[in-house]
């Protein structure tokens, strides 16, 4: 397993300088947004000298424009905002940043306006940006921060998060990454490798070479560690991987297959299944003292465990009733209660980071669904139906789910593909998440800048 490449996160120096705030425009994210908020993202203004220096450093012609494009793209894909066409803008970026002529922005029907300025200060990237309420003619937020220039994409994501938070009242999810399994080749001999990318698909990197089968990578919610299943030496085992150093190790010393790993919310334990003599039960291993605990003890298949965000409960799927259904228990394995009672079979339960919902995969009458239910099983809501899809993973703010979908092959067995998709909790805004090759088993990181 020496084929993990080293990926060092650039050292971050983010200095935030909040200026002032009011409560003005608000975006309701609790229902499907059919009227996304019209927002104008003015290109960030940049002086000639800074422009030249960043062009040399980053090979980007106009870094101010590039950053604003990232913000625009994030806001658009959220489905809550409608970034307006820049051709219609009447005011130049430099002046707009100082004092917008609200009449001009009102004329093109912008309700919010984002302006900003980029400067080079001692070869650091300094960005200040402002969010304006066009109708009220007021500044809603102003922030400045400084970082290493190579962090420019993250600057765009952080601005997007701040704007999202200011306008919706909830944390954003743009300064995040997705770890997933990149896959290619015929269905019968699929080659799979771990891959990581920014939430918007940029900076895609492969972490393994595809020499061995890898499955189900999941982020530690508190840092950038990952746990996944590898078939290294044909011994399917749960591994722990530090994506910053490339160091990895087998989790525990089990005499058989371990699989379906996830971290506990505090990142200190891994919960997983261990299969022995035809029976799979759920175990935890403490990463500090290496103590292994058996959590379920039942002759049925118990797998796909996921902790509640307070760590007090675990949801999982089991076929103890005859078919796969979702159960909830206390974190010590006591008080097991079945919560899924609808028609069909239910799997891959994942507890929402907000604590109130469990997302799942459901198979009913030959169709696969991604849905959510309350933690007592009530209020089941199916978000999307398809030939095959499974394995939802929550955005850190619990508003979006990412999952994967596979296509049906034709009579000759051709036409197979696997793609990542995302959908809002509302059931709206379903989108394919582009990856360089096919993808499956996505897992969403927590916010990097927290």
């Amino acid at each position: 397993m020496k084929n993990i490449r080293f990926i060092l996160l650039p050292i971050l120096i983010f200095l935030f300088t909040p200026i002032k705030s009011y409560s003005l425009i608000e975006v309701d994210i609790t229902r499907g947004n059919l009227n996304p908020l019209p927002v104008a993202v003015s290109p960030l203004s940049i002086d000639q000298k800074s422009k030249k220096s960043f062009e040399n450093l980053l090979k980007k012609k106009n870094i101010g424009e590039e950053i604003s494009l990232i913000v625009e793209n994030n806001l658009r894909t959220s489905g809550l905002f409608n970034p307006l066409n820049k051709d219609a803008f009447l005011q130049a970026p430099d002046i707009a940043n100082l004092k917008p002529r609200f009449e001009d922005w009102n004329l093109i029907k912008a309700q919010a306006l984002i302006t900003g300025k980029v400067t080079n200060i001692d070869d650091k990237l300094r960005v200040e940006f402002r969010l304006w309420d066009v109708l009220a003619g007021k500044e809603m937020m102003a922030l400045a921060f400084t970082t290493v220039p190579t962090n420019w994409r993250r600057v765009g994501h952080i601005i997007s998060d701040k704007v999202y938070e200011r306008l919706t009242g909830e944390k954003g999810y743009f300064d995040t990454r997705i770890i997933y399994v990149a896959e290619e080749g015929p269905k019968t001999k699929r080659v799979k490798k771990l891959a990581i990318m920014d939430q918007d698909g940029a900076n895609n990197k492969y972490l393994t070479l595809g020499n061995e089968l890898v499955l189900t990578p999941r982020f530690n919610p508190t840092n950038q560690m990952v746990t996944y299943l590898s078939y290294f030496r044909n011994l399917p085992r749960v591994y722990l991987l530090d994506i910053e150093t490339g160091m990895q190790e087998v989790v525990g010393d089990f005499p058989g297959m371990t699989f379906a790993p996830r971290f506990s919310p505090n990142g200190k334990k891994i919960i997983m299944s261990f299969a022995k003599d035809g029976n799979s039960d759920i175990y935890t291993m403490d990463l500090e003292n290496r103590i292994v605990e058996k959590i379920t003890n039942h002759p049925s298949i118990d797998t796909s465990p996921s902790y509640s965000p307070d760590g007090k409960f675990i949801c999982f799927n089991s076929d103890r009733s005859g078919y796969q259904q979702i159960y909830v228990m206390k974190n010590d394995g006591s008080n097991v209660k079945r919560i899924s009672f609808g028609n069909g079979i239910y799997g891959t339960p994942v507890w929402s980071p907000r604590g109130d919902l469990i997302a799942f995969t459901k198979l009913h009458k030959g169709k696969f669904y991604i849905g959510v239910m309350r933690t007592d099983g009530s209020g089941e809501r199916l978000l999307t139906e398809n030939y095959y899809q499974e394995a939802p993973s929550w955005s850190p703010n619990g508003r979006v789910l990412i999952f994967y979908r596979e296509t049906k092959t034709n009579d000759k067995g051709e036409g197979f593909s696997a793609k990542l998709w995302s959908i809002d909790l509302t059931g709206y805004n379903e989108r394919m998440v582009k990856t360089p090759i096919d993808g499956s088993d996505p897992s969403w990181s927590s916010l990097l800048s927290n």
Binding site: K187, F259, A275, I301, G347, T409, G413
Partner: protein, 159 residues
Amino acid sequence: MKLNKILKNTLLILLACFALSACATKKVSTGQMQGDVYTGTDTVEYLASGVPDRVFFATNESVLTTASRETLRKQAGWLRKNSNVTIVLEGHADERGTREYNLALGERRANAAKDYLMTYGISSDRISVLSYGKERPVDSGSNPLAWSKNRRSVTVKAN
């Protein structure tokens, strides 16, 4: 009137017979499945002459069918004759289930085969078990016949 009724009944019976025979023919022509367990030989390889390498399962099941038990008895006989051979039982599932559950199901299927071989005198030291879940289908089709070929436990020589 009475004659009419008799005629009608005869016609009904004839029709029913016809329908039944049609069904029967249909079943033979789709051929390679009994219930939803694969009974064909398309994908089967042989460990030795007359010793098939794999057994097939019903959807969601790990119960061995009569045919599977017969195959495994042949494998046990061959293993007894070749006492230096060690084997890996590779358990597989079809694509119509979630990935993690299928890993467990593949393991359960391979263990069903292992247990049967052990009852016929094959030492567990000679058998290891490896589940691939739905990761290694033999047939890439998206139809019941393809799925039935993929729900399997394959005995592979390890040395």
